[in-house]
Symmetry: D2
């Protein structure tokens, strides 16, 4: 089934109010979550659009139906290129992070790793997972990947932490399932996901056995709290504003407090030797996803910088043109890394086709290294107005309006309303709370470069 | 007279409410201006403190009194070094921009340029200006420099603009003064300055004569509107918060609508050949001031990064130590540039000692090139928590408090309250509206590198 | 026919001695050209090796034979990937520049452009060229592309130059051919090429008509002089030395002094509108070739740095490991750009499949920006010994040998002879005449970034 | 006494032939050492020139005479600024490294450290050293600092090395002196120094006691061999060549084979606690010297780039102008760091005034980070000709001369001879053996950044 966004919303709004924002439990229709819902909405709209069939959707041989690509297990280089294309396409429409790749990368990682554990250990995780995934595909669910533990002291392994909850762990093993506790953090999309897909965040040793756990649970299951920080720019739509401000993200600290996970939803339970493998399968798949979204972020920055250059009437000045080409360089090198990762990927024993991790990683590293510089470029071209422009109401007030409408027009080819809209867009892109989020996620999303170092030991 | 900050506030609050914020005229005790007032307060407190005599104050031979250094004409390399020292000292206390150097740099530029115009043209601007300055010193006034015109089309000169108001200009010359109109923009500190010191922003040609104008006016004079955008982080003091959040800035678009300036307050009137000179005298003096404040910004970032490293227990990891030394490199190279500018400065015909512009400029350029990178370093060390940390109220709410107090402690050497305070500070420094302001002002404050290019033609 | 290198040499040595080195005409068996011949030899050896069939060779539908890939017109994305693979493979064996891609990229560009001229102008260049190419393939010739004119004053177009010879141009048009004169410069491989493939270097205007000329001539034709600068490291093979020093390059200033070109070898004659197109077809194809060779240069630098790290026993030090990964990043991003250029390339009207120029260019730009940095990394890891190591003879002399053999062993796991060889290799790679050549060719090979700017106008 | 360079040469040529080059012992008048002698000659010429009195010379209160500044103990900030000025001045005349600062920095370090050892240990090293220094000043000697041990395995301390000779050490202590053995390497200037000033290269521990040794010996003393690698560009002066090629350097591996050092020349003998201190005193003083010479290197590169820009007629192109300002930025920030180090230096107990190590280090680090980039800038402006220009003889040969004289003139404002000279100069600066030497010495001279890290532990 390909759900409509309305169906997605409708299910969300019936969930238990275990999302906490600013000290209170809220329902998932809280206006501060709306920008995130708008992002997810695009992932449903694209799948409904026949034009994007085969890009936004794919044919699942598991359930013999066309499914939303975000719920698909990729089978070929072409599949990976379609995923990358979809992400760039969708990310351009929502101003950057499309979020739903979290679930996609988690299911692909779990499909591979459960197979490999079974092969080594004689377990039956893969079958369990495939059964779970069939329902996931049939219901076109939104999953998020809860990987990043709160980790506590960075120099200590999970079992060495003073506070054991710094890594999600098994509290009890029962015949019908397990009980887990602990904190995950910086989990994007959790507040409006149907399902949480939980996996380890790092390599583990034998005495970290309790921390070797993977499972899926509905996001509003008993014992789960999502303490959430949304990033939002305004409370409701303003017809004069650029669409950028209607989209946003939220991140959650997820508290697991003695949560019971039934056996059929448990996909790793103590197999510590596979902690590193599963962590990296998700991470490397996710880094491949970044080869779709980060080019889109560069595209958007390039668009904002181009508009600012036009408004300043400097778009033909040589240093400005050179700077704009830097965005193209960043975007296309990252995109090329994703293409090469697809071309040189490999078929795993599960049947999932996995992107080449070297190419996924060099691409992701490049974008992580450049992100602050890309905002710097926008600033150089746009000038200081992003942080000194009067507030919207001043542009409307009778005492100041006439002045400001003359003030805001630089290039006479643009009128006052377009100039205001343009500069507010530049501000939203380059000097808003979303800016800090994109800068920091650009560095750390999917594991910082130096954490990777540790992880791979 | 060395005013107390209370005296400064008291005079401010009596001014006409010509500050506009969010569509309405407000008095200068508006809470959104308070963070800026707190910054200026420090400039008065330091001057009251005997410990900083000779640094925060200086002896004025004009009025034969100790005056606040921000109101002083510098006479020697030592004076310039004391100014630089004061700025770094004060900037560290307010989290960065101390703002009041705007007035300082304007009076030093005007003292020099009025003398040079008189020498060439036989005018008497210098005497007028010195008379004005004596009162300024006696009353320990806060002046801001209104230099940046709104500029309109960046490829056209002032006289070529379709909308003449894009550069402040002379509308009428009378026997007792002049009438001026036009827009200045991105003027920091204007909303809580006593005086506006207005100077040209670029080189001028003969047909730009009307734009060659410099003068001083009280900030609430008839015909002046200050359309203001404050940056503030919270509405009132929170005892648990780091002091950083109590300080802030505001920038104004200044509308001059047929403002009459009496003759004794006019310091340039049509001498277009000196437009470039006066613009650069302020800019180069201000760039020297940056050799005090930008090291302080690096110091603060280094402090935040060090605290984050300690909380993560990674302060001895080699790459972290190397990154911390990068802050020292940025700070001390910029500071050294200021010292060399003082050592190799020159005595002008006015008696003012002026910093060497080559050293002022190489220092300023360095800090402009590094600013985004310095925030990047903080992000690399601090991780993603700055944009995903739950809101303050969630740390207080009974439903989530217990979890979050365990969650927030990483290095067990820190307790929950200190951990919260520390991470909120890191967020305030690295991912707040002040961050965008410091990033963008770091690039453009005092003229972007590429604008400088044009200016110097 | 797939020639052996001996057959190639044999033909070369029979050519007229029109190569000038150090003031005298020399035969092509001059020892200073030998390092270049060794490079070309590898291109013949690989084609003889059945293991590399389909990589080093390709099936030509023009002559219905397997041909050396360097003589092939590429027909598909797969062809382009095989070319890229071949270049990386071969470049690793010769220490970097394989040179023969010059001819490959010229023939592909000429095949496309002659077709396009014909389509627009009704000429018959394409047939002429294909006839020429069949012989070229049948005889497995080595062609070099003579593109870069000496250009004179960089701000003047060809027809504006005081000295017309700064661009190769048509002196006379006859019924049976044309007469050309002028200088080409920095032409790598010319001194040991069979054929010179001459094309324009930039966009042309109508009055530059005489400069719109493309043709092929044997490198020793009447009126041609090759004033050549070889880069060589030693005169003959030393069994103790690393192979790197046996390979090298040479570049020539090519003087055309009233050279008659018979009609069947003329492929453009006055069609100035196609000057830019042909210049870019070669350049963009060549930039795609760089996505094969520059990764090999990074691989070699990485190898040298790894060996140095091992000899210093610092290969596990974190900053060293991080630096080594930078080579991987540079190499694989450039390689990925080539792969993406193949995937997103296009079929031209000539049937030749052409790499996507955006991806070719972002890849080439990256490697151009990084080249000096990559040598810097090697220096950081290897230390100063590359420029302070005693000469070879001192390691042999009885008066100093015993000391130096103790001196040179750092990591006791390596003996003296291996240590000497290793450090001489590091010196050859990082501090020899080849180093300067690779640094400068790394920046400018195939058109500097800023020249590209001008070219594309 | 202020010697003339002829006096200096005369004494040198009488020394024992213990310099080894290419397998044989040579006298110090070997032509391959001449470029280095020419450099040292400038240090004598400047001191003879009354114009530079007080810069190239200083008044020594030790011997109550004007002495060459390179033999002076600095007493004030002004002294340090004069030293810095002298170095930049002299370095500009010799194309970069003036070499003689090695001795200067060693004597200042020894003066301070001997005093501090005496204060702690009750020894009499300081008096010994001052007596030695008086003779050194009276005879205007050239000393070089032999600091860098060959070091062997980089992860092992001196006493842990398998081959003890990797650090110079005490073999025997006698009543009248000590016997020392071991290797120093990369010692610039040793082959034409009068005296070797030997000091430790790193922090030491108690069991490294034998390696805690400092002393001075004539460079041709018994048991010393200087295995030397000169960098030279041509054998004798060519009137058409730019002066750059007449100057050069040489570096030596110094073998100490049971060398007896008389007591009065021993300045540290077993005081391992001062190993780190003495190593850093020299290093930090030397880093201050770099704030004089590295700006000169940037000046020379800037000059070469400016000439190339002029010859290409692109000196007004915006990106070229911007690149040229980067040299100014590098040079003046480094110079400013030296000025600040002088201003914030400190008087040591010995009376020597010592530069502030923070400023010395941030300046040195900057130049080390930029050196490859500065060569890259030259390459970007000059183009590829530095590595493809025909040899000198081809410009003279009748068969090619006429062509090449037309070929070489780009900007018609320059004639052929000036064009040849200019481009040969650009080649000498940017693509000669001196280039590799300056690049590598630019990174490692005075201790690499990462070695510093270890040293300071």
């Amino acid at each position: 089934m390909l759900r409509t966004k309305e169906q997605y919303f409708e299910k969300l709004f019936r969930m238990k109010p275990n999302v906490y924002i600013g000290g209170e439990a809220v329902r998932r229709d809280d206006h501060r979550l709306r920008p995130g819902l708008n992002v997810l909405g695009v992932t449903f709209d694209l799948a409904q659009d026949p034009k994007w069939k085969g890009v936004a959707t794919a044919y699942s041989t598991l359930i013999n139906e066309e499914v939303n690509r975000w719920a698909h297990l990729e089978e070929s280089p072409h599949d990976l290129m379609q995923k990358q294309k979809l992400i760039r396409l969708a990310a351009r429409r929502v101003g950057g992070c499309i979020q739903r790749c979290m679930g996609h990368d988690a299911i692909n990682a779990l499909a591979i790793c459960t197979k490999e554990i079974d092969e080594k250990k004689g377990t039956d995780y893969h079958e369990r997972f495939i059964n779970y995934l069939k329902e996931y595909q049939r219901n076109d669910l939104v999953g998020t990947c809860a990987q990043t533990d709160s980790k506590g002291d960075r120099l200590k392994r999970p079992s060495e932490q003073q506070n054991k909850d710094h890594y999600v762990h098994i509290v009890e093993e029962r015949s019908d399932g397990i009980v887990v506790s602990g904190f995950k953090m910086s989990v994007t999309q959790a507040a409006y996901a149907d399902e949480l897909l939980v996996i380890p965040t790092r390599a583990l040793r034998e005495n970290d056995r309790d921390f070797a756990v993977a499972f899926a649970m509905p996001a509003d299951a008993d014992g789960i709290k999502l303490i959430t920080r949304p990033v939002w720019l305004r409370e409701k739509d303003d017809p004069d504003a650029a669409p950028f401000c209607r989209y946003g993200v939220s991140d959650s600290v997820i508290v697991f407090d003695n949560v019971f996970v039934p056996k059929e939803r448990v996909f790793m339970c103590g197999e510590w030797e596979f902690g590193r493998r599963l962590a990296l399968l998700f991470a490397d798949s996710h880094r491949h996803s970044y080869s779709g979204c980060k080019p889109a972020v560069s595209d958007i920055l390039c668009g904002a910088a181009s508009l600012a250059a036009e408004a300043n009437n400097i778009e033909k000045v040589p240093h400005v043109r050179e700077k704009l080409t830097q965005y193209a360089g960043a975007a296309e090198l990252a995109y090329a890394a994703g293409i090469a990762a697809a071309v040189f990927g490999e078929k795993t024993s599960s049947g999932v086709f996995f992107p080449n991790p070297i190419y996924s990683n060099v691409g992701r590293r490049l974008t992580g290294e450049l992100i602050y510089h890309e905002y710097n470029l926008l600033t150089e071209i746009a000038g200081g107005i992003s942080v000194t422009m009067p507030f919207k109401q001043d542009f409307l007030s009778p005492e100041t309006r006439e002045y400001l409408e003359k003030f805001i027009v630089r290039n006479p080819a643009l009128n006052a309303q377009d100039s205001i809209k343009l500069w507010k867009f530049v501000e939203n892109v380059g000097a808003s709370p979303m800016t800090a989020w994109y800068e920091i996620a650009g560095v750390h999303g999917d594991g910082s470069l130096w954490r990777t170092w540790v992880l791979r030991r």
